[in-house]
Symmetry: C2
Subunit: 212 residues, 2 copies
DNA sequence: GCCGACGGTGAGCGGGCGCTTAGTGTGGCC
DNA sequence: GGCCACACTAAGCGCCCGCTCACCGTCGGC
């Protein structure tokens, strides 16, 4: 098992950067509701109800429903980028770093599926300014993965015809885990992470595709 | 270029199985609107407006807004399944059939991105009965791809550790094209199809990964 | 013991939603 | 020409949405 992020899976919800307590409860309730039914199908009454509060309480801590989505999206993207950066900047061969990046990124998308779903699929519900901010973070995500693949190609470890296209495909593969993964399914986040790391090493033509 | 479905790309909208004409115009308008803003964020007034009709006209041809989504999803899944079946049942090695299946499936998801988006991402907006019908179609899609991979493994053409997991990943990769592909982007549907066919052959460990 | 700050509530506003209904213009058939 | 069938519209019903506002209980500071 890889080590960049040891406890990405599981069900603990580390929203501890959100204060005060009532604001965090509302945000966690919104994450559940948005992930279950989608942003547009979720009502502010539903969010407040899940947090055990009246509908009006939401507006003490957040200006609008969209601000809630923005905060969730921002925190989620920061976390995803942090996971990739940790893997990209560790020491080791490009093959090891890529396997680590993919397996920890996938573990996050599977284990924190609710957050990941919102982060990846509700971008269009944000207004122009918030969307631009998130899109910038996504470009950094792309750059981290592309960097590892470029390193591997330069070192002769990988055999890739189209670096940008392959980067896109690798990220796409990982992200889509949030769409299909189910906690009731037959696989754990760790198993999917290991399977995907192997598949991605094959995609980049890594020599001797061993396990990290 | 592969040949299973020669004109999957492009912008022609072959909804000709939908009659009468007014019903088709409404359905095409709904496809555009759902793909742009999502099912829940689309209003019946918007759909009718795009079709050049009054809001009430929608209800002459469709019982509810959900029936529109159901019809779109059903036709889209039928088409996707047809594309995969055509590739799976042609003659040739497992490698050729898999490359053909992936490249034509991807061309459809890229070239008919609006339909594919609705088909893949609005499943949860359907009621239980309609959803069950669509889920059954998806299982057939999975079975087609898994069948090709199993054939390749049995023939010694492929080297796959986890057939079901790899099938899942291959389909996931293709489907997610509908999320990120843009007609304004640097790639044509044909280019993405060719790139993805190559990547998938690498994922299944096909010997001598040539071009079909 | 009084007071202001603050987190919270109940009631409700303006508006847009999905959908319905009564009525209208038009074209085909005798 | 008379008539009906049918595709379509104008108007609007009942509902629930995001959000607001007047008010209230609690708690630390003096």
């Amino acid at each position: 098992m890889s080590t960049a992020e040891e406890t990405t899976g599981g069900e603990a919800e580390p929203w501890d950067e959100v204060t005060p307590d009532a604001a965090r409860r509302l945000l966690v309730a919104a994450v559940e509701a948005f992930a279950e039914r989608g942003y547009h199908a979720t009502t502010t009454r539903d969010i407040a109800g899940r947090a055990g509060m009246s509908p009006a309480a939401l507006y003490i801590h957040y200006k609008t429903k969209e601000e809630l989505l923005h905060r969730i999206s921002r925190i989620g993207h920061d976390k995803a980028l942090d996971i990739l950066r940790t893997a990209a900047q560790r020491e080791g061969s490009a093959k090891e770093r890529l396997a680590d990046a993919v397996s920890s990124f996938v573990r996050w998308h599977a284990g924190r599926r609710t957050t990941a779903r919102i982060v990846q699929y509700e971008l269009d519900a944000l207004g122009p300014d918030a969307r631009a901010e998130i899109v910038a973070l996504r470009r950094q995500v792309d750059a981290e993965v592309r960097g590892i693949i470029e390193d591997g190609v330069a070192a002769g470890e990988f055999d890739v015809l189209d670096v940008q296209g392959t980067t896109l495909a690798v990220l796409s593969l990982c992200i889509d885990v949030a769409r299909w993964f189910s906690v009731n399914g037959p696989r754990t986040p760790e198993e999917v992470g290991a399977l995907y790391a192997d598949l991605v090493l094959r995609m980049v033509g890594a020599k001797q595709p061993d396990r990290t």
